[in-house]
Symmetry: C2
Subunit: 270 residues, 2 copies
């Protein structure tokens, strides 16, 4: 189906604009046939800058989302949008107002407060470095330090999943499994609750691996992509998961965000 | 200052709940003195599940955020919350309604549509794998394939920044700089617009590096953390940036999200 409508969505922010950008992606996923362009205007902290961008919004007949926390900027954008008939969505102030009402505490109205370089931030940075350092079973010592150890055969998204979870502050190590590989002793010392085994459908893996061979300019019909080989790998992995008594997740139709949410959910409900 | 108020914020979602979780982080950054707990309830797709979680919300006197796209679930949560006096924030339907009005297109009301395993998703997964593969100057070939090449001396957050940008779909390689290191020939072939040089304040680097030595159980007063050494490294890097004629970003008080937004902004406005 061709995308028939065209739409400009503008994200205005006194900081990075990431929060509103995510709202746009989530909402627009419900309109697969609407072509749209998202324009991001970060770091707006002066009235002049804001007016310049609002004129653009008016010209583009855009829908506007904003995450301003400064009272004056919020007032300007609301007044301008209502006077010019621009649809304007305030992403964080509805929650800020509820929290103020509930706790009787005033917000600090400080732009970029979400990007404070505090202990939590540096923990997340360390977790990202950890994930790269202990990716692909590079150093089994990582298994003992990790919050989560991800196991899986080739092409089960171990690396992207590890990194995605690291960005949420978890220290994640991963180990690729092959029938030929020796399982490091450290693995048996990891708390079962911290171990996650990824598996996938034979058919799906075969297709992914054939694609990978093609993208490398190689013959897709290699042992790597043969169904018999894949079946053996899956059996080896599932056998190991049973011995380790760990959580098993079939990632065949799951994004890394979904797999991550399942892992965190089961960690929290333990 | 001690955190005096206590608050439960519940995120309800038919999918991962990441979008609403980001709104919570952004809003709560404005209340540094309010202690709160965020509870995530992902993958709610049945009425029964929803009612169970809503009873919890009532017991906790929680503020509720949701990202439901199913009309029935939205109606249930709104009715329940209004009847029980629960503050309820709908994160994505305000935008969905505006898009419907503007384009005269109905949303598909499909849970998890934001996590579709489409071409864009697999590009992002490839970008994450790319960032790990070409981290730390491991293979200079990556410079020629990358969308962005990040240069910087030790402790300027090259790795976390590369990964963060990869998660947004950019292919990023990075190269650590030391006065002793040979600059790979490939670097001179990279389009200047794609090159970013990171720098930092001498004082800040010295502190970060001393902390790093301490965390390794080593003497903090090493050559690695000495100001003279750091000054030499910064001079070497800034000299190279001038020769390369690339964008220079001082990351001393910037989070990776902020640095990333600056890079993308200047790429887009080129």
């Amino acid at each position: 189906m061709s995308k028939t409508h065209s739409l400009t969505i503008m994200v205005l922010s006194d900081s990075v604009g990431g929060t509103a950008g995510n709202v746009v992606s989530a909402a627009m996923a419900q309109f697969p046939d609407v072509a749209y362009e998202m324009k991001n205007f970060p770091f707006i902290q002066e009235e002049d800058q804001l007016y310049t961008v609002l004129e653009k919004a008016n010209n583009f007949k855009a829908i506007v989302l904003h995450t301003f926390v400064d009272t004056l900027l919020v007032e300007i954008i609301e007044t301008y949008c209502s006077e010019h008939g621009i649809a304007c969505i305030d992403v964080i102030n509805p929650l800020i107002r509820e929290v103020t009402a509930k706790t009787n505490t005033m917000p600090q109205h400080k732009p970029g407060a979400n990007h404070k370089l505090d202990a939590k931030y540096f923990d997340r940075i360390s977790a990202l470095e950890f994930a790269v350092k202990y990716d692909d079973g590079k150093d089994p010592k990582g298994f003992l330090e990790a919050d989560i150890v991800i196991l899986g055969i080739s092409r089960t998204s171990k690396t992207p999943l590890s990194i995605y979870m690291a960005n949420q502050g978890y220290k994640v190590a991963n180990l690729p499994l092959m029938p030929e590989s020796r399982i490091p002793d450290e693995l048996w010392k990891v708390d079962t609750k911290r171990l996650v085994g990824l598996t996938n459908e034979e058919e799906m893996l075969s297709n992914i691996r054939r694609e990978r061979m093609i993208s490398y300019g190689m013959d897709p019909e290699t042992a790597y992509s043969s169904k018999e080989r894949i079946r053996r790998e899956i059996e080896f992995a599932e056998d190991l998961y049973k011995k380790l008594n760990c959580q098993i997740i079939n990632v065949s139709s799951k994004s890394i965000e979904e797999t991550s949410a399942i892992i965190i959910d089961s960690l929290n409900n333990d």
